[in-house]
Amino acid sequence: MRVRVGYNNKVLPYILVAPQILITLVFFIWPASQAIYQAVQRQDPFGLRTRFVGLDNFAAILEDPGYLNSLSVTAIFSLSVAALALGLALLLAVSADRVIRGATTYKTLLIWPYAVAPAIAGVLWMFLFNPTIGSISFVLKALGYNWNHLLDGNQAMILVVLAATWKQISYNFIFFLAGLQAIPKSLIEAAAIDGAGRTRRFWTIILPLLSPTAFFLLVVNIVYAFFDTFGIIHAVTSGGPARATEILVYKVYYDAFEALDLGGSAAQSVILMAIVISLTVVQFRYVERRVHY
């Protein structure tokens, strides 16, 4: 923060930051420290007795096949969502950047899924793939493919990935389009004069210049798939069938509120916090670097 003309006032600044700090302390810092505290305690199911167990909860988690399953489910889910949402958004952004007529119309028609709640996106796709009445599952059945995501774990995973991707494409699209439009036209023209074709220009000029945006989006998409998709999982599959779609965030919720395993849930929260912190640091490194360009 650079030094600047400021005000000297003993009380006012504290009054100004008070609401923000108060909410932060009560609803962020205090609960987060409670989570860390609980993570090293074990409590009986009725909450009558607690004792200090050190890192036992963490050890128990890392040996729990359910948690390891949830880890791999999360990895598959978030990587699929990120790859699909980034790939499709890039394809659409490159196309929208290329057309002269109608670019704004396309933009308007493509950005609005951003406004749809993840849980609602889940409901939309669940309806299409409903095993008895869904339009898409009907077509699949006609083609000889039996769709029932209530029984088949892989199909359930495909369904939540589709819903999560559908919701995220518009966000990535906006950033890719902004990134594309920031690339100096002279650069591309120079390459064109040198005889580089459309495809070659894309791979050697556009994509490298777009890579900081793509990297930033990759982090954002992973954070999205980790945390914001809770609504999709909860509304569409409830983690099932047979835990096939139980992502980490859903498991934290389930263990805390349904299974009442407080220590275990808190330890999982702490692991998740570590994941968010590292992703946030990566994200800020990128923002810092971009500022210095």
Binding site: T24, F27, F28, V116, V123, F127, L128, I188, A192, H234
Partner: protein, 280 residues
């Protein structure tokens, strides 16, 4: 232009049109389902031509709800209150704290700054149980303060305003000082009008954030009269042994999407600005 748009242009348009149709398809099917009778929806394959029961289904949804549900009009109001309080609250407290951090030298300034920064790393999903406990200890379950206040702290908005305030020329502060105006006067008469576009941009994003909340209302509200529309739909789908009343549920789904989609499309320019500026 680099080269003339000849061959290839139609491929580009084709890709975009397929993209637009794919994005719109689930909504279209939902809309059609919301205009049919339950029997028509259940007859697989469902027709893809809208039926005549639009008004009937929407008024059922709005004023009576499904058999085991509550009327959607109440849920819409709850969602609206929640979204507005969160968006306004976040903007107000972020403006104030960014103003304090940028324009005042005071002990603990950096401590506060980092404390706000940390909230960026603690999404509600990773601290659900202890946060739930805090809210329940404060006896805020099933109340609007419990639903909104914990979500109001916002590092992103504070940073956005901080970045923006740092670009405001120092001369403006000096000028108001010479005129004898105090800090709050400067804030109100100079800084706020200058921040108008940022506020508008942020408002769009935060309104949608508030409207689309899922986990938090799921935990904090058990009383059906406090249901937000996003939560209400999930409750409608869990109909137990009864057949889900799809036309009414689908009408509700449309109603849940219209306000945020309208806000994004109508305020597109600000929305994109807010998104790209705050990178969040």
């Amino acid at each position: 232009m680099i080269e003339k748009q000849g061959a290839g242009t139609w491929v580009t348009h084709a890709i975009l049109i397929v993209g637009v149709l794919t994005v719109a398809f689930p909504i279209y099917v939902t809309f059609v389902a919301s205009t049919l009778t339950l029997r028509d929806v259940l007859a697989a394959p469902m027709t893809l031509i809208p039926g005549p029961h639009l008004i009937e289904n929407y008024s059922t949804a709005l004023f009576s709800g499904t058999k085991n549900g509550t009327p959607v009009s109440g849920m819409l109001l709850n969602s609206l209150i929640m979204a507005l309080v969160i968006a306004t609250g976040k903007i107000v407290i972020s403006l104030l704290s960014a103003f304090a951090v940028v324009y005042f030298r005071f002990p603990l300034r950096m401590v506060f700054f980092w404390m706000i920064f940390v909230t960026l790393m603690l999404p509600v999903e990773v601290r659900i149980l202890p946060t739930f406990k805090v809210v329940s200890d404060l006896e805020l379950l099933n109340s609007f303060p419990g639903l909104t206040v914990p979500l109001i702290a916002s590092a992103t908005a504070t940073f956005l305003f901080r970045q923006f305030f740092m670009t405001v020329p120092d001369e403006l502060v000096e000028a108001t000082k010479i005129d004898g105006a105090g800090p709050m006067r400067f804030f109100r008469d100079v800084l706020l009008p200058l921040s108008r576009t940022n506020i508008a941009a942020l408002f769009v994003i935060l309104f949608i954030y508030g409207w689309n909340q899922y986990l938090w209302p799921l935990l904090i509200t058990s009383d059906h009269s406090m249901d937000t529309i996003v939560i209400g739909i999930r409750r409608m789908l869990a109909a137990g042994d009864d057949q889900v009343e799809w036309p009414v549920v689908m009408a509700t789904t449309m109603l849940a999407m219209i306000p945020p989609v309208f806000v994004v499309v109508a305020m597109q320019r600000w929305f994109v600005k807010g998104l790209v500026d705050s990178e969040k």
